[in-house]
């Protein structure tokens, strides 16, 4: 288990129902978009091999159900997460207003060792809808929220058109690695295969 953190990065995607969590995950992992996704029940899961700073990682992406009551099942899924991706729909104020709730619930249930510095990334999805005319949450507003939560990186995405999805996940990987170094320095049975490239300037990816 000491070696788990070496190569595996666990990422949890949270946000209201229908904001496009499943679509974002599928666009990133399979480069596909479908109008016919099924509602996610409980949680779903995909993995992807990623390279970052000459190192290989397995990204474990947990897609969760958006209905609030499924949060009761969160403990099992959230624990051990390296990064939490919050998603809202730029065309729905409610999905934006609920971000506080998702963030808090994650911190309560995952109980990370350093909640103040736990890496989150915010994605404002569905920027493609109606050519942006139905948009109700401004970029400024979203960024202000991010600033108030300790400078959470922010991306505006379209899972449908594949806009910014790759970039967002690059940033997610980077942030997932933020908490890694100290923990690993003391692991006796880990061997740095690729060479000590880690722990160098991994901030401000966007």
């Amino acid at each position: 288990m000491a070696s788990r953190r070496r190569t595996l990065l666990k990422v949890i995607i949270l946000g209201d129902s229908g904001v496009g969590k499943t679509s974002l995950m599928n666009q990133y992992v399979n480069k596909k978009f479908s109008n016919q996704y099924k509602a996610t029940i409980g949680a779903d899961f995909l993995t992807k091999e990623v390279q970052f700073e000459d190192r290989l990682f397995t990204l474990q992406i947990w897609d969760t159900a958006g209905q609030e009551r499924f949060q009761s099942l969160g403990v099992a899924f959230y624990r051990g997460a390296d990064c939490c991706v919050l998603v809202y729909d730029v065309n729905s104020m409610k999905s934006f207003d609920n971000l506080n709730n998702w963030r808090e619930e994650f911190l309560i249930q995952a109980s990370p060792s350093d909640p103040d510095n736990f890496p989150f990334v915010l994605l404002g999805n569905k920027v493609d809808v109606d050519g942006g005319n139905s948009r109700v949450v401004s970029e400024k507003k979203a960024k202000a929220w991010c600033a108030s939560k300790g400078n959470i990186p922010y991306f505006e995405t379209s899972a449908k058109d594949g806009i910014n999805v790759e970039e967002a996940f690059q940033c997610i990987v980077k942030n997932a690695l933020k908490n890694e170094p100290e923990e690993e320095l003391y692991m006796p049975d880990t061997v740095d295969v690729v060479g000590g490239n880690r722990g160098q300037g991994s901030s401000g990816c966007c």
Partner: protein, 459 residues
């Protein structure tokens, strides 16, 4: 004839299965076989009355027919009979539920409502039903592309889910029910589908889909116990990988395998669940899947591989007969009574954990409450600092308080943090901001009271 054929097929599968079966289940199977009695032996005492008073002489034959797969042409009728739709049905109840608020079940009104919700000004309907939005979102996400779920199909689905939510507000609407309702609609008339849904959610899955989802969580702990007992080698392997089997099985249980197994397998498992009228088959099916795929699972080298493998293998379980037979015969010793005991054992943990979390949530709220108080200090210093009674000090403070609140006002209304205020603002940010503000005040007034207050707030 179809039934007989499928039984024969199953017997054949059973033989094949015995050969390949993992040792762990082989023993169980042998024991169960001896309990099984001769087919048609109506005096057999192996039926333990799991189903309450539903004992009848030819139950055993029916049971093997069900395990062999209900013929598709009879499935609708059989399912209704199993769940007891006829007995449950109260004439006029369904329509009455729908009539309760005639205004809301019209497509056009619903759209208005969604718009209203987004603008958060529910003028038209003072108290919109809270499950409505979620149901609307899920209608197109229920078996998308299925020809039966055209516009009429979706309207029926909407009515069915709305009626159920009104029938049992403690559950209301929970995602996954859309799939159950959709499934029933494929096999029976709308009103009967409603009563089937009532039977499943109110009875077989009582406490599963409520706000707290307690029984759902309890079942996963129970399953973990059973898996550890039945598959010690697999359990050890998943422990080493840091995988919880329940990550995968949780969604299996919640969705009763819909979208998790191939269609035919889903239907075959549902045949048995509806016939037995409890959740035992969820456990047996899961154990059968672990039995089938355990050997592959123990070769995986990391958590991601293990979960992905289990998910994808489950999704390609096309041999529905092998699955159901392994479940029912191989794990016949997993019984409702035993599961009930385990549930009693685990329920307190779940409830305790839930209470713990609600305490955590409350302490978050309290922190926020404090943050809001800090804000109101800027608005109305006297409310927070009644001890500042020196006239000079109070005046000085008042002046600055006013100018401060102007700044605060523009800060709040001019920025995106507007709705933050209602929900509270991060305490740390608050303290930082207050420090800055107080330093400014200090510089300007250098009042002793202020310095005192600064200390109070700082520490």
């Amino acid at each position: 004839a179809t039934q007989l054929a499928s039984i024969e097929e199953d017997r054949a599968v059973e033989e094949t299965h015995e050969g390949n079966s993992a040792e762990e289940s082989y023993d169980a199977e042998k024991v169960d076989r001896s309990q099984d009695g001769a087919p048609g032996d109506s005096t057999s005492v192996t039926l333990e009355g799991d189903n309450g008073g539903s004992y009848f002489p030819w139950r055993e034959e029916l049971e093997s027919l069900v395990r062999g797969g209900v013929p598709i042409a009879l499935r609708g009728e059989m399912w209704q009979a199993f769940v007891g739709v006829g007995a449950r049905k109260i004439t006029g109840y369904y329509n009455k539920l729908l009539d309760e608020r005639t205004d809301v079940l019209d497509e056009k009104d619903l759209k208005d409502q969604v718009v209203n919700e987004q603008k958060s000004s529910p003028k038209k309907d003072p108290k919109p039903e809270k499950w409505k939005g979620q149901i609307e979102k899920d209608l197109p996400r229920t078996f998308p592309g299925h020809p039966a779920l055209d516009e009429d199909g979706r309207n029926a689905l909407r009515r069915l889910l709305t009626a159920y939510a009104r029938h049992n507000p403690s559950v209301g609407y929970c995602q996954a029910m859309n799939f159950f309702a959709g499934l029933f609609l494929l096999f029976m008339p709308e009103e009967n589908a409603f009563w089937a849904l009532v039977g499943v959610i109110d009875e077989y899955f009582e406490g599963y889909y409520t706000e707290e989802m307690i029984e759902s969580q309890v079942d996963q702990l129970v399953l973990e116990d059973v898996v550890r007992e039945r598959f010690p080698k697999l359990a050890k392997h998943t422990d080493i990988l840091g995988v919880q089997v329940t990550w995968v099985t949780g969604p299996w249980f919640l969705s009763i395998f819909i979208n998790m197994l191939p269609w035919e397998s889903v239907l075959r498992v549902w045949d048995v669940i509806l016939f037995e009228g409890n959740r035992t088959m969820l456990f047996r099916t899961t154990l059968a899947l672990l039995d089938l795929y355990g050997p592959a699972l123990v070769t995986t080298k990391d958590a991601g591989d293990a979960i992905t493998l289990l998910q994808s293998l489950a999704g390609s379980t096309f041999d529905s007969s092998q699955l159901v037979l392994t479940a029912c015969m191989g794990f016949q010793s997993v019984k409702e009574m035993g599961l009930r005991e385990l549930r009693e054992k685990h329920r307190p943990e779940i409830i305790a954990a839930m209470e713990e979390r609600s305490k955590d949530r409350k302490s978050w709220k309290d922190k926020k409450g404090l943050a809001t108080k800090l804000y109101s200090f800027k608005h109305d210093p006297s409310s927070v600092c009644p001890q500042v009674d020196s006239k000079e000090g109070a005046d000085g403070l008042q002046v600055n308080g006013d100018s401060g609140s102007t700044t605060l006002g523009s800060y709040l209304t001019g920025s995106a943090l507007e709705n933050e205020l209602d929900e509270g603002i991060d305490l740390q940010d608050q303290v930082k901001w207050l420090k800055v503000e107080l330093c400014k005040l200090l510089e300007e007034k250098r009042s002793a009271e202020l310095r005192f207050m600064l200390l109070l707030f700082w520490f």
